[in-house]
Symmetry: C2
């Protein structure tokens, strides 16, 4: 096992902060409490089929039934739901684990323990764990990797097991999943069965399980799945021909959809199902950082650039089409028919986070921040009760959600779906945000995101971060225990001020260095570092290679993309042009607190709303007119994109006309 | 049969010119010769499976095989092609008939006679005629109206029969189709079987057959199909349940797709498959003009307004989505993913023409002209050899035809398809253009379109029209035999000049009246009427209710919509803005002949190319930038939309940015 050893010689450049390392306050803290108080309890009621007005989930019952069947007490037809239904329990458990690390809660821990008992009881003697196959047809195990999601469900459960172990020290689920990993190892490595996961996820999970357990088989299995993917790019076709049955009518020849068109080290364009893609790339980047595999990292970097330089929305959304929930081609970024799934942006954050372990560069964290503050947060209603899976950058009631090409782009968040991927994914992301905000290595603390709260790293460094980010742009680090500090400087703020203990550090000061988007400085105990970023709203222009965005601009402030909703703008944003504000160089300004009350209720208390000059074109019902429409100057209001759709159905637009 | 008699008391306000009435010259004449020399001969070679590099058609062989089977000489499995394959022969025959009226041709007539002999021999004793069912399974006749296209194929063959009879006086096919109509009458009226056509067409064809033969059953059958449509709106669902087999997997519950969601007199929104819709509406308008049915005409008018006031592209294209080749919702008119099928715009011309028989109003002919000079002509390569079925208003190589949402929007015309609906439809339309350009009633000649050539109407009026339209805007009518003349004044030219024998007729002159888009005047033998229309290029603005068109303008001249192609504009039209030309009120000008040679070869000799001021934004590969891109003034070139895609794959855009 030569390769298994090579990784030890190449530790990642940094590791994410442990789950106890960050105790959030402020903006992030509020969101974590929302997940605790609303999302996770509601999801548990869904899993138990006790949530009103929600489609039957049957997740808990599936585990109960599978356990009963294995004990010879139940019938074989007790499964209900999607083939990946088990993963809902896994994501819930993972989120619950993070919450326990943040907010100790005996009741929640007891519930989680009970769920784990059910899961453990549903594991077959040989380590196999999947209620769909256990209840439906044991003989079909491992015969439909393309559609079957067995490896996907195992992967999510491995993540849950690691998180629960980290949060509680309890090893029951960890042992269950180690046994499951051994079963999979045995099938694919010892017995040498062909194939790789239809929906990547287990790769990143196995590496995590390896870190938690030290089990070399986990590492070897992750490496195996990554290495063989796409080597036989016709595997799914052969598998489909061999088995002669389907779960859906997936096309096994669509090799880009499942990212098996090429061996991963030869891939360059981000293609196919966007969530599968970024989960795969996360595993690849994770493996690369552990092995120092330069070829693999080079592939990750090409794929990263393919996404972020040619296939990503300004909101950090990815996946331009509903057809396959997938990437399309370079510069094809329609606003109104976007897919931009919440889960895909969460996966993009995973990928960014793992890229940082290979290469410390602010552009990774910039994208992580962009995805988080815009698409990921937009995925959740402000009250945590409803969710967008799809995050368009423009909606027009009457067209969005109605026209056959726009059925997926809804003007309002629906409730919990039968396919409940996004809400629990958002829950586990938000409740573990410290892992993405902060990182460390033996002598350095990395501040990737500006997240208020207390940070205590395993390298001994401790500090408190005070900020009202993303609405305030001063970030104060009160150092309790010093060391090296690497703070990201966002690309939107090339101008920034840095002070130590009240004394400005001018540009070029030898007290710090600025390298690839991070300022590096030594801090001593009790130092206070103050970073002030640019808080001026700014316009963003798109490449004219994006056909849908020519002649338009978007408004941003800090990491937040803004949008214009009808409710603030006379019911009609389509007739607005912000070209005069942009031409005159007039900077949009925050609406003063005194006037904010005039805005409709339903926005967050702390939200900064922007006001700017605009022009409104005379409206007409006629499709076409030979007369140039008259124009009236007006004042318009923009709100943070993530807050849209919280005040009833209305028009919403991110990219505004400049004409 | 009370209703059958009522129509006689309500003759249409006008009738289309007979097929011998118009001998074209100039622009239309050139197109008719192209159809004669290229399209129709090529199509015949396709029908006979003799065209190189084209999918097998088998149309002629299907008729031969069906005839042989009926004589007991053949096998039952001799069918190949689509279920509506027979209609290809019908459309070819119809176009051939029109060509024979324009260009007597013994060879072509002999070929057509032979085809008719084959068709006649493929008719069953009881009058049934359809090679698919005759060859595949006689017992399935009339059991799948939703998908089966039996009535559709009969309809097209009835049209061919009428045209061939009109052109040659030969009645063989007319008798075949009258017998076929009697068979259908017997099945649906006498025997009382339920159902109505899945693809409307036979309604308008039966009315035409009624006019050619006087057979009251044809009229009654047309009226029956129109009257019962949508009365039992669940008919297709019941039919599907009853038969238990499918040709495609069409959804019988999608009632809007087949326009049976409501009885036709209650319909208001143009919905579903766009070609089916306009064929149905054409039949409805035809029936309304024959019966004076005000309720039916009111429905036609609502549907007309739904299309032309809320669901039509500036090019006269209809059908906003490839999903069902269908209408979507009001103001949803994406340029790059448009369907805008050539056949649908041809059908829109049919509908417009029949609306004129109910109500003389220039807006119907305006739309007919818009559809013809833009979408219909764009459907055909300038050399008549390749065809667009789909007519987008914007293409970007690399996205169009490649992205999963843009697969149907091709940047270049493909060859002849297996489903060969559009090319022969364009052929029959162009070769019968006189029917759309000119109309008559007992004392009046109607000039709906400006079509050069000789006109001799059955009311005795005769004149010669001289014009270089759509590139020249003077139209000279040299009257040989006088009467009343009604000439449409296009909506784009509210200012016009009218002269009789060289003397201007000022506005308000008692010598003519202007009413609903037509000037009416009395003309004497040897009078010369000269109409001069506005030839100035003009910008068109879209309603801001169309999300995809805000901030943009299109350039037109006369009836021609212009577009911008990369090949004339430095390879990149996406970075261009024409806002400065539009803001300064600078009128684009025709490129002088001396400079036209500098344009790439491949445009029509007579085409007027426009030149105008514009600005080019600095390009960038980066998706997004916080810096406003620099702008360089430049001169750009626009070409008529119908000529696009004739000079290799490149960017094309109709709606240009104004910012």
């Amino acid at each position: 096992m030569q390769k298994n050893k090579s990784h030890a010689t190449n530790p990642p450049l940094l590791s994410p902060a442990g789950i106890f390392a960050y105790q959030a306050e402020g903006f992030i803290g509020d969101y974590q409490r929302l997940v605790r108080d609303t999302v996770v309890p509601y999801q548990y009621s869904v899993l138990c089929d006790k949530a009103p007005d929600t489609e039957k989930s049957h997740v808990i019952q599936n585990f109960k039934n599978a356990g009963a069947l294995l004990r010879g007490e139940g019938a074989a037809d007790g499964f209900y739901g999607m083939v990946f239904q088990d993963s809902d329990a896994a994501k819930w458990l993972e989120a619950a684990a993070y919450l326990l690390s943040l907010f100790p809660d005996k009741e929640l821990e007891k519930t989680a323990d009970e769920v784990i008992d059910l899961i453990a009881a549903a594991q077959d003697e040989d380590g196999y764990l999947n209620t769909y196959y256990t209840l439906k047809d044991k003989n079909r195990r491992w015969s439909n990797l393309q559609e079957g999601h067995e490896l996907y469900c195992s992967g999510h459960m491995m993540e849950a097991a690691c998180a629960y172990y980290e949060a509680t020290g309890k090893k029951k689920l960890l042992h269950v999943m180690e046994k499951n990993a051994e079963h999979i190892y045995s099938h694919f490595i010892v017995e040498g069965h062909e194939g790789y996961p239809g929906h990547p996820e287990i790769e990143l999970a196995l590496l995590r399980l390896y870190r938690a357990t030290g089990n070399e088989h986990c590492f070897a299995l992750a490496e195996h799945f990554i290495n063989i993917r796409g080597v036989d790019s016709h595997f799914y076709e052969k598998e489909a021909a061999r088995r002669g049955w389907n779960i859906w009518n997936s096309n096994p020849s669509n090799r880009e959809y499942t990212q098996c068109h090429l061996p991963v080290r030869s891939q360059s364009d981000a293609v196919g199902h966007a969530v599968r893609a970024v989960y795969l790339y996360t595993g690849m980047a994770d493996l690369a950082s552990m092995t120092g595999d330069k070829e693999l990292f080079a592939a990750c970097k090409r794929l990263w650039e393919s996404i972020t330089e040619r296939r990503m929305y300004i909101t950090g959304g990815i996946g331009s089409t509903v057809i396959g929930e997938a990437f399309t081609v370079d510069y094809d970024l329609p606003c109104d028919t976007a897919y931009a799934e919440t889960c895909a942006s969460i996966g993009l954050m995973f990928f960014a986070s793992k890229m940082l372990e290979n290469e410390i560069d602010g552009r990774y964290a910039d994208v992580m921040e962009r995805a988080f503050y815009n698409t990921v947060l937009a995925g959740m209603q402000l009250d945590g009760k409803r969710f967008f899976y799809v995050n368009p950058l423009e909606v027009t009631p009457g067209i969005s959600g109605v026209s056959p090409t726009h059925l997926h782009d809804l003007p309002a968040r629906p409730g919990w779906y039968a396919c409940a991927c996004c809400p629990p994914n958002a829950a586990r992301l938000i409740s573990s945000l410290g892992k993405y905000a902060y990182g460390e290595n033996k002598d350095t603390a990395f501040c990737h995101l500006f997240a208020a709260g207390k940070v205590a790293l395993s390298n001994g460094m401790r500090f408190f971060c005070k900020t009202e980010y993303p609405y305030g742009f001063t970030v104060r680090y009160e150092i309790e225990k010093g060391g090296n500090l690497a703070i990201r400087i966002p690309a939107y703020s090339p101008d920034f001020q840095l002070e130590i203990n009240g004394a400005a550090l001018p540009e070029g000061s030898p007290s710090y260095r600025l390298e690839r988007g991070y300022v590096w400085l030594k801090v001593k105990d009790n130092d206070v570092i103050t970073l002030t970023l640019d808080d001026a709203p700014y316009f963003v222009y798109a490449s004219s290679k994006i056909p849908q965005l020519t002649g338009k601009a978007a408004l941003c402030r800090g990491p937040l993309v803004y949008c214009f909703e009808g409710t603030d703008n006379g019911g009609d944003v389509l007739s607005l042009s912000i070209g005069n504000a942009q031409r005159d160089g007039k900077i949009p300004v925050p609406v003063p607190e005194s006037e904010k009350a005039a805005l409709k209720e339903g926005l967050p208390e702390n939200a900064v709303v922007l006001s700017l000059d605009a022009e409104r074109k005379a409206g007409t019902d006629s499709l076409y007119t030979n007369t140039r429409p008259g124009v009236t100057p007006c004042r318009v209001t923009a709100i943070p994109y993530y807050t849209w759709g919280n005040r009833g159905e209305n028009q919403m637009r991110v990219w505004m006309d400049l004409s």
